[in-house]
Amino acid sequence: MAELEYNPKELMVVNAARLLRDYDVVFVGVGIPNLACNLARRTHAQNLQMIYEAGVIGAQPSRLPLSIGDPSLVTGSTSVCSMYDVFTLYLQRGNVDVGFLGGAQIDQFGNINATVIGDYQNPKVRLPGSGGSMEIAAWANRCYIITPHQKRRFPARVDFQTSIGFLEGGDARKRTGVRGGGPEAVVTNLGVMRPDENGELILTAMHPGVTFEQAAENTGWPLKLAAGCAITEPPTAEELRILREDLDPQRIYI
């Protein structure tokens, strides 16, 4: 069988999708996480349920939404509630299994900066800010991050902690009393990083053809290689077909 061709985004979507479990309740954003959830629903996690921070539960959009507030998410969904309700009844109450997070910087302990590069009061680059991520990172049972593997995205410490991973590591997160378990995996175009017992992100899987050196060079801290670091299974023909033909035929995100 000839090897399948796929691009880095497809690779990330497929690997993120595989992290999701059947019956997971997922707090999801647009773009790559949205594709990962829908791919999981079409493959191994048919009962996965998606919640958008705009207050939409069980969306069945007929098109790929540009924003998480798109009208196509509402029509035909199971339930729509106010923003206060979605953050209290669903997220703070503990009804969310999985959150997807992103940001300009993710550090060694999985803390995320989506707020500012430079000084907060005198910003060098002013980023959008938290939105829902401060609470998602704290209160979802587990979190995933999907991002290209670049040194500037993975500094040793973020300039600003918009949302937390494991803070400075050890039991620092646990001591805050937040209910969620924190980031469980960071999926990049090179592989997958997961927290070790100290909360430090280490390389636990590499995509086919990727070397540890490549990953280390593109990480802002001395990246450790997990014992038994795996090679990910390449995307299957079926996964790629669903992605390309059904989910994103116009290739907006992939």
Partner: protein, 301 residues
């Protein structure tokens, strides 16, 4: 009951004043662009503009010089990128700001709408924003001793809320994404309701559970079809994603923004003219189509 019907320009003139804290509500959905444009046209100044997501509307109002300060929790062009005018003003130190997460922002409205002096939230472990914004405080849970984070009420001087249908008394029904429509209306001192469709009181009374905003908190009812464009009104017209993408280009320079404002705001008298100027192709592209709710029976008691 006396009708509260008035023109949008009269309502803005009467209820919005220089220096006011304005909350133009709507999470992606129902953003009252027409009201923002009227505020620009009337040349209001020194406003404090609060919204969870400032969106293109506040980018335009900041560019037009209406604002002294923004209060927000996500300052982006959803799905596209930055709000370039606000971002440049912030980076240049030309605009004050006050920042929250979505939940803490909305909790401020919940406190305001509920008449509470503060709302508690569970800790998130993220303390950087808390240390930058003195409105975040902490309170010890008297049952366990653990600390919760609290925020004070947000009481806008005026809330502007767009809804799908309302009667002339301001009893308003909203569906689709609800965002903070209802909380903004109950929290604010004055409420301007912009309405896609004015309906008979009997329509409202046929489905009272759909009425999220009662007339008794509403000061002005303005009939403004297509008020929300380029955002959208569920069931009435689509979101103009093309314009959200186009704004990313327009907003790259001060000049192109001012040209936009000249053509689409200052150069037009009202929303009807704006909608007409968009033209039939845009109208057609933004048609909503029909998917009706199954009725429910309230019973004839």
């Amino acid at each position: 009951m006396n009708s509260k019907l008035t023109s949008l320009s009269d309502a803005i003139h009467q209820y919005v004043h220089d220096g006011d804290l304005v909350y133009a509500s709507g999470f992606t959905h129902l953003i009252p662009f027409a009201a923002g444009h009227e505020i620009i046209r009337q040349g209001l100044r020194d406003l404090v503009l609060a919204r969870a997501t400032p969106d293109l509307l506040y980018d335009q109002m900041v560019a037009a010089g209406c604002a002294r300060k923004v209060i927000f929790s996500y300052m982006g062009n959803p799905g596209v990128g930055s709000l370039r005018r606000i971002r440049e003003a912030l980076e240049a130190g030309e605009l004050e700001w006050e920042e929250y997460s979505h939940f803490s922002m909305i909790s401020r409205l919940q406190a305001g709408a509920s008449g509470l002096p503060f709302m508690p939230m569970k800790q998130t472990g993220a303390t950087d924003l808390e240390s930058q914004n003195p409105n975040f405080r902490r309170v010890a849970d008297p049952y366990t001793g653990e600390e919760v984070v609290v925020v004070p009420p947000l009481i806008p001087d005026v809330a502007i809320v767009h809804v799908q249908r309302a009667d002339v008394n301001g009893n308003a029904q909203v569906w689709g994404i609800l965002g903070e429509q209802r909380l903004a209306a109950f929290a604010a001192r004055k409420v301007i309701l912009t309405v896609e469709e004015i309906v008979d009181e009997a329509v409202i009374r046929s489905d009272p559970n759909r009425t999220l905003i009662p007339g008794l908190v509403v000061d002005a009812v303005c009939h403004v079809p297509y008020c929300a464009h380029p955002s959208y009104t569920q069931g009435y017209h689509d979101r103009d994603n093309d314009f959200y993408l186009a704004w990313d280009e327009i907003s790259k320079t001060e000049e192109s923004v001012q040209a936009y404002l000249e053509e689409w705001v200052y150069g037009l008298p009202d929303r009807a003219a704006y909608w007409e100027k968009l033209g039939p192709e845009v109208h057609k592209r933004l048609q909503a189509g029909q998917r009706l709710s199954e009725p429910v029976n309230y019973g004839d008691y």
